[in-house]
């Protein structure tokens, strides 16, 4: 196995494969940065170009592109408050708040450094887990997935403000998210739920326009209100100390970064959970690390930990998602589904063989992820401080550009004007939530978990009747859910005891 590890590295370092990887990285950089250029869509568009490449080159290209998207998506989230990708929305909450305080450089540095850590952890996990990955994935069936989703719901408690009313609003938002997720055709009886005979609503509501609307629109309105640049009236000098400070933050909170990377890897390994979940669970966990009530209240307003958590989880989940794709031929995320197509094109059959006879190829994929991320992060650092200067550009120049990104980004999700209306509708909802003190994170969490909760519950009951409740992993997860749910109470009590 060690030989395969080194052979894999040598394969990637061949100049042709390396060149293709660099090309992929350049492409991926822009794909992540521009909202509306979805990582998944672009991967699909690139597939035809790899017909002429050898397997190693093809993978270097595709993976190079793919590994980078989550990293640069964070940049757009931090600078403009627009999710560059559906998976980088959580970074907006604290990342963009930091930008508004003039700490854009620091936020970007933190996002990039934590992304790198996350990618490395994900890649290491992929390499290390190879012997145990099959039994691991096989032991997580639908009952376990249901419970993981319940744990996710329990995280709502950590995403809500302290106190009874704060929790009430948090769970309200979460419940609302769960309800919005039911729109569309249900997979049990085939009923078109809440579609009001509209074709647009029939396939359900797309996540990307909702995310763009609920996060970006309130920021734009606030920007117009303030009449200033994004960074407001903060003196210019502060910006430049940024990036390195962000890197230091990553290591200052290294435990958190590491834990969130592991959360991301785990979510990535579990197929069926979807890419958007990891960032919110990581964010919730980061919020749990607040030691006093004030610290906790500071989340969502510019706490660097709120950037580290999602930043790490986003990248690690992709390494994790590669595992079921490679080992089982079952894509761990939608981008992996495209990569799977790439597998076939390049003549490889995913399955147990990839972990034995073709282990070298698998390791070359690991190395590609590692190298692509290192290159991207280093390259970004070179002009990070310039990027951060965008936050002092006059609002009047920036706002129309942001609006264009918002509208184009929402439209290109499905090439449907309906998505523009959807985006504006949730923009209004988001604005009211921000004005009314309702947290948005639980809403998004409910939205992404809704289908997972419902469908896995039905599958579990249909398949196992009542006995799924007594499966060992289910019980462990249930206990975890209870613990996660009541953790904020523990936090509050501890900080009151400290007199804080």
């Amino acid at each position: 196995m060690i030989e395969a590890l080194f052979e894999g590295l040598l394969l990637v370092l061949q100049w042709k494969a390396f060149a293709f990887m660099l090309l992929g990285v350049v492409l991926g950089f822009w794909v992540g940065l521009l909202p509306g250029l979805g990582g998944v869509t672009t991967l699909a568009l690139m597939l035809p170009f790899i017909y002429a490449m050898t397997p190693i080159e093809g993978f270097a290209f595709l993976l190079g592109m793919h590994s980078v998207v989550a990293t640069t998506g964070d940049i757009t989230s931090v600078l403009f408050g627009i999710p560059g990708e559906g998976t980088t929305a959580a970074t907006i909450l604290d990342g963009h708040s930091m930008a508004k305080k003039g700490e854009a450089g620091r936020a970007l540095g933190a996002a990039l450094a934590s992304s790198l850590v996350g990618a490395l952890v994900g890649a290491i996990a992929l390499a290390v887990a190879i012997p145990v990955v099959r039994p691991l994935v096989l032991s997580f069936g639908s009952p376990e997935l249901f419970m993981v989703a319940i744990v996710g719901i329990a995280f709502i408690a950590s995403l809500s403000a302290q106190g009874g009313r704060g929790m009430l609003r948090g769970f309200l938002a979460g419940g609302l998210g769960l309800m919005v997720a039911t729109v569309g055709q249900d997979p049990q009886a085939g009923i078109a739920r809440y579609t009001f005979d509209s074709l647009y609503l029939w396939s359900g509501l797309d996540l990307v326009p909702i995310l763009i609307g609920i996060f970006a629109i309130p920021e734009v309105i606030d920007l117009v209100l303030r009449g200033t640049s994004i960074a407001g009236d903060v003196p210019k000098g502060r910006l430049n100390q940024g990036a390195l400070e962000g890197v230091r933050d990553t290591f200052r909170h290294f435990g958190l970064t590491l834990r969130c990377s592991l959360i991301g890897t785990f979510i990535g390994i579990m197929p069926g959970l979807g890419g958007a979940v990891a960032q919110w669970l990581a964010y919730g966990h980061a919020a749990q690390s607040a030691r006093t009530a004030e610290e906790r209240a500071g989340f969502g307003k510019g706490d660097v930990r709120g950037v580290l958590g999602p930043g790490a989880a986003n990248n690690s989940k992709e390494g994790g998602a590669l595992i079921p794709t490679v080992a089982f031929g079952v894509p761990g995320s939608s981008s992996m589904a495209i990569l799977l197509g790439g597998f076939f094109l390049l003549g490889l059959v995913p399955g147990p063989d990839m972990l034995t006879t073709h282990l070298t190829v698998t390791f070359s994929m690991v190395w590609t992820i590692v190298l692509a991320n290192i290159i991207t992060v280093v390259a970004c650092f070179l002009f990070l401080n310039h990027l951060a200067r965008l936050t002092v550009v006059r609002g009047a120049l920036l706002i129309p550009v942001i609006l264009v990104l918002v509208f184009v980004g929402s439209y290109t999700a499905n090439n449907n004007y309906g998505d523009l209306l959807l985006m504006l509708f949730f923009g209004a909802v988001g604005y009211l939530m921000v004005a009314g003190g309702w947290p948005r994170a639980p809403f998004v969490l409910g939205l992404v978990l809704g289908k997972i909760v419902e469908n896995n519950l039905y599958i579990s009951v249909a398949r196992y009747e009542a006995e799924w409740l007594t499966r060992p992993i289910v019980l462990v997860l249930a206990a975890l859910a209870v613990a996660v749910m009541f953790y904020p109470l523990l936090q509050a009590r501890r900080s009151a005891a400290r007199g804080g």
């Binding site: 521009l34 009430l168 419940g175 009886a189 009923i191 009047a396 009314g436």
Partner: protein
């Protein structure tokens, strides 16, 4: 502002959840279980939030989220918020009337010039730059479909 917005949301959610539960009643069991199981608690929670808001009108709860800027006097803030909304709806109208490829540079130019009172050169330059990237990437490179606006259809160009 927090009080008003929270009340609007609370009532809206009550109505939505209530309607959702009522609509779901007619469906077969498997289709209606989840919506009702979520809808009923959401209705109750929304009602609780509204009542709480009426009983304790001065409480400021906040959320783990950003706060809208509050340093501006109410009237100014409200007017600017409406202006922002106006621009967004205007952009939407532009997209429908003349299509994305024209609406994009148009809104950039108009906003920079009218709202921001930026100099002509900068406004035009920015509009052209944005249009260039938009056109180059989304139209030429990706061939994404941008339907023609209504006006073009009426005058028979499209």
């Amino acid at each position: 502002m927090e009080r008003l917005a929270s009340r609007i949301l609370g009532i809206a959610v009550m109505l939505a959840a209530g309607a959702a539960v009522v609509i779901a009643m007619d469906w077969p069991f498997k289709a209606k279980l989840f919506p009702i199981a979520i809808g009923v608690p959401v209705f109750c929670m929304a009602a609780a939030e509204v009542v709480w808001g009426l009983l304790r009108p001065d409480a400021r709860v906040g959320a783990m989220d950003f706060r809208l800027s509050e340093h501006l006097p109410g009237k100014v803030a409200a007017r600017r918020a409406w202006i922002a909304i106006g621009w967004m709806l205007g952009f939407l109208a532009g997209i429908v009337l003349v299509g994305f490829p024209i609406a994009v540079p148009l809104v950039v130019f108009l906003y920079a010039k009218l709202q921001g009172r930026e100099p002509w050169g900068l406004s035009l330059g920015l509009a052209f730059g944005v249009w260039g990237v938009f056109y180059g990437v989304f139209d030429r490179l990706l061939h994404l479909p941008f339907p023609a606006g209504w006006i073009q259809s009426w005058i028979g160009l499209a």
